[in-house]
């Protein structure tokens, strides 16, 4: 068993203010949910890291963007823009031009199908039984009738994926959002969502469902799918990332608003420009 204390200390060191953390609650919940079975040793550590990260950020009032690391975030953003210009965008253009549309759709469907078990796991952790059932049904249907998920017959029947992640699970458990972060390669996130991403990466149930598949295989499919998306939504991505007057602020706003919408949060007192055209 890894020593979680050390991890917590490591994550906490250098943070501006530890404050009161909801660490113990999450620790308790996770220790009940997951036994530290062999092969899953990373999980408790990742969860603890998640909790340590998420619980300690000072909270701000509604409608105020919590971005204490803006300077560092902006530096990371500049790196991401450069990465997109010189690597991701050209790679996605090559990907889009080499592979015909049906192949790209097949890769994207396949990657999407591989995500479903992870959605189901998180649905169950959030006690969303309906979503868990829908995602399970979609996974079973497309795996069987869509040649392992290459085709999407379930979507044609209106049975779409209800995407979720461990960041959303943490939100359901009452972990606060924490500060906004922009991470190199990963892009916009928050302390809570970054923790969720780490947990999702090490706990993907596909690894347990398909133990004989080489580890890099699903990742390769995901990368292909991501390049496909970058190609498909090229104009939209360009307009935000390269054409905005302040692409960092624009990306931050879009990420947070979309994320709050996905988490079912009500937007902070909706702006009525008729009441005060100058207010936010």
């Amino acid at each position: 068993m890894l020593r979680p204390r050390a991890y917590v200390m490591a994550w906490r060191s250098g943070r501006p203010r530890p404050g009161t953390c909801e660490l113990r609650t999450v620790q308790l919940m996770t220790s009940r949910l997951f036994s530290p079975a062999a092969g899953r040793r990373l999980l408790p550590a990742a969860l603890l890291a998640a909790a340590a990260l998420s619980a300690c950020a000072p909270s701000k009032g509604p409608g105020v963007i919590n971005d204490p690391y803006e300077k560092q975030n902006r530096e990371n953003h500049a790196v991401n823009v450069a990465l997109d210009t010189h690597l991701i965008k050209p790679a996605s253009q090559a990907y889009g031009h080499v592979l015909p549309d049906p192949v790209r759709t097949g890769v994207s469907n396949f990657a999407g199908n591989l995500s479903l078990p992870s959605y189901v796991m998180n649905d169950l952790l959030q006690a969303k039984v309906g979503d868990a059932a829908q995602n399970t049904l979609r996974f079973a249907f497309n795996t069987v009738f869509g040649l392992g998920g290459i085709f999407d017959p379930a979507g044609a029947l209106g049975l779409h994926a209800k995407s979720t992640d461990f960041g959303a699970t943490l939100a359901t458990w009452g972990v606060r959002e924490g500060a906004y972060l922009e991470v190199v390669v990963l892009g916009p996130t928050t302390e809570r969502d970054l923790a969720g991403t780490v947990v999702d990466a090490v706990t993907n149930p596909v690894m347990f469902l398909l133990p004989n598949v080489p580890r890099g295989y699903p990742i390769g499919v995901k990368v292909g799918s991501a390049l496909g998306n970058r190609y498909k939504y090229n104009d939209l991505v360009d307009s935000v990332l390269h054409d905005s007057a302040d692409s960092y602020a624009q990306g931050r706003l879009i990420y947070l608003e979309k994320r709050h919408y996905e988490l079912g949060q009500k937007p902070p007192a909706a702006n009525d420009p008729y009441e005060d055209p100058y207010a936010n």
């Binding site: 979507g155 979309k258 009525d272 008729y274 055209p277």
Partner: protein, 201 residues
């Protein structure tokens, strides 16, 4: 003359009575059904444009017409400019609003152009503070449907929409951020901002 508190009370009551009486009168201009009907009409026009097979330039011109007809462009423009609108002269506000209308039509026209072959349907409407939110769903081939909301108000004197919310991302907030950043780029010079807007979007 000494002010009689009782009389003052009556006066206040009379004034608030008048104000109260005025509210249902004003609100009668727009209710849930008319707000929904407005967006139904707008969506029908957008659906026609995105499936017309027109060129990009024609589509942008059509979107601008729809935008001018159904949106409260002056209030959206004013909100996007934020505090800087206080310093702007009426002439600058007129020029800014005009440039902003073109910019927003091109920018959102590009997004709506991605709906080619798809369709938008109004599914619900409900009150939003003193205004209304009309909910619609955009369905594109081979993709999960997504959520498109329109905020409608009659406070301008006409029934018009003043915000679009796409999957939780709202236009007023993103444009406030974007126009604010553009103004900073132009060192707070509104005339320079107007010039830049004429070629942006």
């Amino acid at each position: 003359m000494r002010t009689d508190p009782f009389r003052r009370g009556i006066l206040t009551a009379a004034v608030s009575g008048l104000a109260l009486a005025a509210i249902p009168f004003r609100a009668s201009a727009l209710d849930l059904a008319t707000a929904r009907a407005l967006i139904d009409q707008l969506v029908a026009e957008v659906n026609r444009i995105i499936n017309s097979g027109e060129t990009e330039t024609q589509m942008f011109a059509d979107f601008e017409k729809v935008f001018a007809k159904y949106a409260d462009v002056p209030i959206i423009a004013r909100s996007a400019l934020g505090v800087a609108a206080r310093q702007a002269s009426p002439q600058q506000m007129t020029a800014f609003t005009k440039a902003f209308q073109g910019y927003l039509s091109r920018k959102y026209g590009r997004r709506f152009r991605e709906f080619i072959g798809g369709k938008i349907e109004v599914t619900d409407a409900h009150p939003l503070n003193e205004n209304y939110e009309v909910v619609s769903t955009a369905t594109l081939r081979g993709e999960a449907p997504f959520d498109l909301r329109w905020w409608v108000s009659s406070k301008s004197g006409r029934d018009l929409f003043y915000n679009i919310v796409i999957e939780g991302v709202n236009m007023l907030a993103t444009e406030r951020t974007e126009i604010g950043a553009m103004l900073d780029q132009n060192n707070g010079n509104i005339d320079a901002l107007i010039k830049q807007l004429e070629t942006s979007g």
